[in-house]
Amino acid sequence: MDIWTPDSTDFPKAFKIKLVDFGADGAYSGGDDVEHELSFTAASTPPLATESWVSLDIPLSDFTGLTTRAHLAQMVISSDLSTVFIDNIFFYSAAELVPTTAAPTPTESPADVISLYSNAYGNVTVDTWSAVWDMADVSDLLIAGNDTKKYSNLVFAGLNSLPAPSMRRR
């Protein structure tokens, strides 16, 4: 959100933003509403300023009390600045960071390895990289030409290989 004010922003003048999620029932109240309010002043980063556009770019994780976000329904702005111009109010996803280089190529001798996943070795069969009972998503991609697994929304992931490759045979 970008804001501009003609008023004095001397501390402790503040501009506040509250986000409210109405919870699973999607309606106000009902016991599942959560909210969090952040306060911006001349002492915060970026500082409030008079007659200058101030760009507030806020990680949603800063709204720590906003424990759910699936039913965001209300924003409350409050301030002791009586006049504020506002533009560019939006939510966004930052460009995702990915590795730019491949994981290092392992140097163990293939004769000494049972590999589940590596371009450096022949791999045993893995039945699932994300079991039905887990909480994770998995996808395949290339990082600098090297096959790589990406786990997202990861809480826990189950990788099953049945029948289990015998770890006793070597």
């Binding site: 995702e96 049972i114 049945l162 289990a164 070597r170």
Partner: protein
């Protein structure tokens, strides 16, 4: 076999108490889940373990 190896990379902050855990499970002589002969162990890695979890590397 006496070692397990995996390389991982995350864009997320790895500051404590963030952790990455690995659990290995052996299904025992039965070769299937359950049956009373399964054994398992889980290790936890964080910014204070060796090597330390790190962001973007």
């Amino acid at each position: 076999m006496n070692y397990f190896h995996v390389d991982l990379w995350t864009p997320d902050t790895t500051a404590l108490p963030k952790v990455f855990k690995i659990k290995l499970v052996d299904f025992g002589a039965g070769g299937t889940f359950g049956g009373g002969d399964d054994v398992e162990h889980e290790l936890t890695f964080d910014a204070s373990t060796t090597p330390a979890l790190a962001t973007g590397s």
